[in-house]
């Protein structure tokens, strides 16, 4: 029984935590605020006036839609690839012992532990050595590489929680390997995979650095934003898009939380 249930936090801690959270959130509010400013070219503070016109403008910009479509496609396929690879890897690492197991878990973490620019530049130079032209698939490859770990972490945490005897119980009751996978393993890791998949999606959706190196001339949403922020036409449109994206990516994150909250943390959620 935790004593904290009845005790409340010391005041100093409350203040520090609240200040920290405020630090994290005020700039976000600003992003939202400037989605409504009437000023188009530069950001003035305080904004001279408020308007909702940018939502309509953003809606009617074909470049926004093109970038959005590409980002959604990349994130979906990268997530799918990460789901398959991450799950396979998690299954191998958590269900069996083999020489080099530690090395594999290190290898999976490497793409997020190394700065994105390294992943990006390495893949880019590999593409150029192998004479692979930039395409949708080169972006996807880069994204899936660092998304694997998100799925892997979630799946491994869940695999650890499925007691080994559950799988043995299934076999004991007459289920062969495939039946055991279908009826016991899959239902038990499903929510973890869903959570991992959602985080992978959100991660891919916001990736700038790796994309810069693997996209060639294609624009994903973050690349579009970078371009827009540096060479603005209608600056508030960028904020509108950012705000909508925050709100939209937020739903899967919320979902992931509720799917995994009892038990494993959202492993590798950051990233």
């Amino acid at each position: 029984m935790r004593s904290e249930k009845s005790n409340s936090a010391p005041l100093g801690l409350k203040i520090a935590a609240a200040a920290g959270l405020a630090f994290m959130h005020l700039p976000i509010l600003l992003i939202f605020l400037y989605a409504f400013t009437t000023e188009e070219k530069s950001y003035q503070f305080p904004p001279p006036g408020l308007t909702t016109q940018w939502f309509a403008v953003a809606w009617n910009r074909p470049d926004v839609w093109a970038a959005l479509t590409l980002s959604v496609k990349v994130a979906s396929i990268a997530t799918a690839a990460a789901l398959v690879l991450g799950t396979l890897c998690a299954a191998a690492v958590s269900q069996t012992r083999f020489f080099g197991r530690e090395a594999v878990s290190l290898l999976v973490i490497l793409p997020i532990a190394l700065p994105g620019i390294i992943t990006g530049i390495a893949l880019r130079s590999a593409f150029s050595i192998a004479d692979i032209p930039f395409s949708f698939w080169t972006i996807m490859l880069g994204h899936a590489t660092f998304c694997i770990v998100v799925v892997y972490n979630n799946a491994v945490a869940r695999f650890r929680r499925i007691s080994g005897s559950l799988i043995e119980a299934s076999m004991d009751l007459g289920a062969d390997g495939f039946q055991t996978f279908r009826y016991v393993i899959l239902p038990n890791i499903a929510t973890a995979l869903l959570a991992g998949g959602m985080l992978a999606f959100a991660l891919s959706f916001d990736e700038v650095i790796v994309t810069t190196f693997t996209a060639g001339q294609q624009s994903t949403l973050p690349i579009w934003m970078l371009e827009e922020l540096i060479r603005p036409r209608q600056r508030p449109v960028t904020n509108v898009v950012a705000m909508v994206v925050v709100i939209v990516t937020f739903l899967p994150i919320l979902g992931a939380y509720y799917l995994t909250r009892d038990g494993d943390q959202i492993a590798g959620a950051g990233k």
């Binding site: 530069s42 150029s128 032209p133 930039f134 060639g216 001339q217 540096i230 060479r231 603005p232 036409r233």
Partner: protein, 362 residues
């Protein structure tokens, strides 16, 4: 490599590496659009990749996947040497004959009498300044960005000036020294011996103490003038025009020391997959209309004299304003090489690393 023999049908696509503001399709101001019509006429869909420095352009061309590049003088010869661009067949470009003679055989695109592109536009790197800070005493010398001084508004220039974030800026320092330290014997700001080079770097180190952030991107420079209290900097007429159009208190001059400048050439990639569209584009860009429009928008000068007259956007005074007649005062960008008129000069790669060092505080 043999140039193209005859013009065929357009391939439907064309990708161009260029400076920001060089190729407009009316997105910022619908009056400035020299792409839409071209696309309609030729069916060549244009995609534009902007680059902030010449080095970036060279890197993009080395990487491949582009058809054309509007290379400045400090990039063009490197591209030729690296065999990244191909000679062009001037016969396939009817307007070739209309080109300003000063540009037609310019050394930055002509090697052994072979042309590696069509001139686009040229212009000076002007001194842009904030008219409120300078009140009624506009600057006359690059001194304001090289040495600490009190500006007419009574405050120091420290932290309020900028310089270009590209190694070629060393030439601006050399240009300044040419006027102020004649005993160094600098004849050409792109050809510096060790002593001259050292003096230029020393000057740049002084400049570092004045500069908060170097400008790398035209748009970010505009932001800095608006939000960061920057009041003077070397710049392109493009930024000046853009800010003036936004009613910012901005003006520019060509200081007494003269200026560096750029003269850009549209060059065709050695492995271009859309050479026909490329040739069509080169021809298109040489029309007085496009030349005038680009010059008006960017604050540059046309390579086709006819553009100076009768262009609605440029107006008849435009060429004079943009320095069309100052051609002689402009020391055009070119790549510093070891072999030079002084015998041995400091090559470009040292400019690159030393300039990074100077900005880094070394």
């Amino acid at each position: 490599q043999e140039p193209l023999k005859e013009l065929g049908k357009g391939e439907g696509e064309l990708s161009i590496v260029t400076w920001p503001g060089y190729i407009e399709r009316g997105e910022t101001d619908k009056n400035y659009d020299w792409v839409t019509d071209f696309e309609k006429k030729t069916g060549c869909k244009i995609s534009v990749k902007t680059a902030a420095t010449s080095d970036e352009m060279v890197a993009l061309m080395n990487e491949g996947g582009f058809d054309l590049v509007t290379a400045s003088g400090d990039a063009s010869l490197r591209l030729v040497a690296g065999k990244r661009v191909q000679p062009i067949n001037t016969d396939l470009i009817p307007s070739w004959k209309t080109i300003d003679e000063r540009m037609q055989n310019a050394p930055w695109h002509t090697v052994d009498g072979v042309h590696y592109g069509t001139p686009y536009v040229w212009g000076p790197n002007v001194l842009m300044y904030n008219t409120e800070a300078f009140k009624n005493e506009p600057p006359t010398s690059w001194k304001v960005v090289f040495e600490e001084m009190t500006l007419p508004d009574g405050k120091s220039n420290k932290g309020r000036v900028q310089a270009y974030d590209g190694p070629i800026h060393v030439a601006d320092a050399a240009n300044y020294l040419m006027a102020h330290k004649p005993d160094l014997g600098i004849k050409d700001p792109y050809e510096l011996n060790e002593d001259q080079y050292k003096a230029a770097l020393d000057l740049l180190r002084v400049q570092r103490t004045l500069v908060g952030r170097y400008w790398h991107d035209a748009m970010i420079q505009i932001d800095d003038f608006k939000n960061e209290g920057v009041v003077a900097s070397g710049s392109w007429p493009f930024q000046v025009n853009l800010m003036r159009s936004e009613k910012q208190p901005i003006s520019s001059i060509i200081p007494e020391e003269g200026v560096t400048g750029w003269a850009d050439t549209t060059m065709l990639h050695a492995d271009s997959e859309h050479p026909n569209c490329a040739y069509m584009w080169m021809e298109h860009t040489l029309s007085p209309k496009v030349q005038g429009d680009v010059s008006a928008w960017f604050g540059a000068n046309p390579s086709v004299g006819a553009a100076c007259k009768g262009n609605e956007l440029l107006t008849d005074e435009g060429c004079a304003t943009n320095g069309y007649n100052d051609f002689e005062k402009v020391k055009f960008w070119k790549t510093p090489v070891t072999k030079c008129s002084q015998g041995e000069c400091v090559p470009y790669h040292r400019w690159v690393s030393d300039y990074i060092g100077v900005i880094g505080g070394r």
